[in-house]
């Protein structure tokens, strides 16, 4: 079977579209999928802080959910430092570590 006779093949091969139009549409579709930053209430913020503190005190491995414009991501590690001035949390992962802005943390859990 030829590709032209399968799925959307016939229309794909006869479509006439300016590359600029295509790009504008791809961007438009991406923006439709954009997440808005969740507003955490005080209780939830407190719960997250206690989990982060617990991880640092007892060196427990924690998984943090980080906000992303298009996709949220998860990072697992042990919290080794909390910088209250800069509002950063240092997450150690093996021999490596990352600094995470607390504003981006929208979830935390122990497994």
């Amino acid at each position: 079977m030829s590709k032209k006779l399968e799925k959307n093949g016939l229309w794909e091969s006869s479509r006439m579209m300016l590359p600029e139009h295509k790009e504008a549409y791809i961007l438009y579709q991406q923006n439709l999928r954009k997440n808005s930053r969740p507003q955490l209430d005080d209780q939830e913020t407190e719960r997250l802080s206690s989990i982060i503190a617990e991880s640092m005190l007892f060196r427990k491995e924690v998984t943090l959910v980080l906000f992303g414009e298009f996709d949220n991501s998860e990072l697992t590690g042990v919290v080794t430092k909390i910088d209250q001035q800069q509002k950063n949390v240092r997450l150690a992962r093996g021999n490596d570590f990352v600094w995470i802005n607390t504003e981006n943390i929208i979830g935390a859990m122990f497994y």
């Binding site: 030829s2 032209k4 006779l5 799925k7 959307n8 093949g9 016939l10 229309w11 794909e12 006869s14 479509r15 006439m16 579209m17 300016l18 600029e20 139009h21 295509k22 504008a24 549409y25 791809i26 438009y28 579709q29």
Partner: protein
């Protein structure tokens, strides 16, 4: 595909799209014949769109501006604004998406809608089509014509053959009516049949769409194979399915998320280029654009293609040739060497009218082959810097010195989309 429930597909087509948009922006031209046309000096002086009033004078799309002006001396000729049309088209897509999430763009002025699941919410197909027409007219000033059927092919033909011609701009072509309505239509009205194919069908004794539909597929394949050779089997099946109104292709909004197969740029030159240094200038500019696109999208290409068409227009010569590079790359200088090599191997020395550069067999550019004698890191950094300057301050913020010569087209290209002004 869903076999049980019949789908409801619309094809919405914008009437004289560019001209309608311009009329909405120029209310003083409301009752005047308006066309949108490129400039004669730049060899793009053809009618891109003519409003219904202009069409009454016999002006047709793709006609030369001079001929159109002869037919109607009081014609209002407006310069195209391509970016504006793209924005308007996107706005129309947005309106369609208020009714269904299944909207597929077919061209700047035609879009498919699958409204099967929207009927319980918004009413029967004709009601939805009318609502679409009103909304689009109110928000953009464009009149849309809507073909309604159970698949994309029939919806398309419902629009082209009937909805564009009738007063309401809406036509329903049910699958059950294909034999009664579609089959008596002449062959040239069928989607995918142009003037040359019409001639072939006439020679085969097929004059109506029904003649094609009623021919058993194996026989049609044999007949076309006799004319076009072995490669025509697929074409024969496409035509046979079209004539019978068979099409199970889904409305696919996400179709543009698939990675591209090639990246290319092409341009018609404002005058014929005869000197090699002139041709080199545009070849380098095109190569730079292609490579910059690739770098932006994180691709490298393995195959370089060069297209060329030479004057005279009536008896053009030209070629389209490709070669494989030693390693995949998106580096302008490397690609340009290959482009030049190809061009000078096949150019017959005739004045060049149109050239194009494409790279294909794309792959991710994160892993690349190191070479012994080239400082690739340095080259990549240099291109990264020029790209970022262009991204920030516009594509003419930094250009090669040759682009500043009389042959250079970079500045002109940067203010155009698809060969017409933004």
């Amino acid at each position: 595909m869903r076999e049980t429930a019949e789908r409801v597909i619309l094809l919405a087509d914008c009437q004289s799209f560019y001209a309608s948009i311009e009329k909405a922006s120029h209310p003083e031209c409301k009752n005047k014949p308006v066309v949108v046309a490129g400039s004669v000096e730049r060899r793009s002086g053809i009618i891109l769109a003519a409003c219904p009033i202009a069409k009454q004078y016999g002006i047709t799309t793709a006609e030369r501006l001079g001929i159109a002006l002869n037919k109607c001396p009081e014609l209002v000729v407006l310069r195209p604004r391509m970016q504006h049309y793209i924005n308007a088209s996107m706005m129309i897509t947005g309106i369609y998406e208020e009714f269904t999430n299944l909207v597929e763009i077919f061209s700047i002025d035609e879009q498919f809608l699958d409204i099967t699941a929207s009927i319980p919410l918004f009413g029967d197909p004709v009601t939805i089509a009318k609502a679409l027409q009103q909304k689009v007219l109110l928000q953009t000033g464009v009149w849309i014509r809507v073909g309604i059927s159970s698949n994309k092919m029939l919806a398309k033909m419902a629009t082209d053959i009937w909805a564009k011609k009738n007063k309401d701009g809406i036509f329903t072509l049910p699958k059950t009516e294909v034999e009664a309505l579609l089959w008596p239509q002449p062959v040239h009205k069928m989607f995918g049949v142009g003037s040359r194919m019409t001639t072939h069908f006439t020679r085969l004794g097929m004059h109506t769409i029904g003649d094609i539909a009623r021919t058993p597929l194996p026989r049609l394949k044999d007949q076309l194979r006799f004319r076009f050779g072995k490669q025509s089997d697929i074409h024969a099946e496409v035509l046979w399915r079209t004539a019978n109104g068979i099409d199970d292709s889904p409305v696919t909004p996400e179709t543009f998320n698939t990675p591209p197969k090639s990246v290319g740029h092409m341009m018609t030159l404002p005058r014929d280029y005869m000197e090699p240094w002139e041709v080199d200038t545009v070849l380098l500019e095109l190569t730079e654009e292609v490579c910059r696109d690739c770098r932006r999208k994180n691709y490298m290409g393995h195959v370089v293609t060069v297209n060329c068409m030479c004057s005279p227009y009536e008896a053009p010569t030209g070629f389209s040739r490709q070669m494989k590079l030693l390693d995949p790359t998106n580096h302008t200088k490397t690609v340009f060497e290959a482009v030049k090599q190809l061009f000078y191997k096949f150019w017959d020395g005739m004045p060049v009218r149109r050239v194009g550069v494409t790279i294909s067999q794309l792959m991710d550019d994160q892993n690349y082959q190191l070479t012994l004698f080239e400082d690739q890191i340095k080259l990549r950094t240099l291109e990264k810097v020029t790209d970022s300057i262009k991204n920030r301050y516009g594509s003419t913020a930094i250009v090669r010195a040759s682009s500043l010569t009389a042959a250079g087209q970079a500045a002109d290209r940067s203010i155009k989309i698809g060969g017409h002004y933004k």
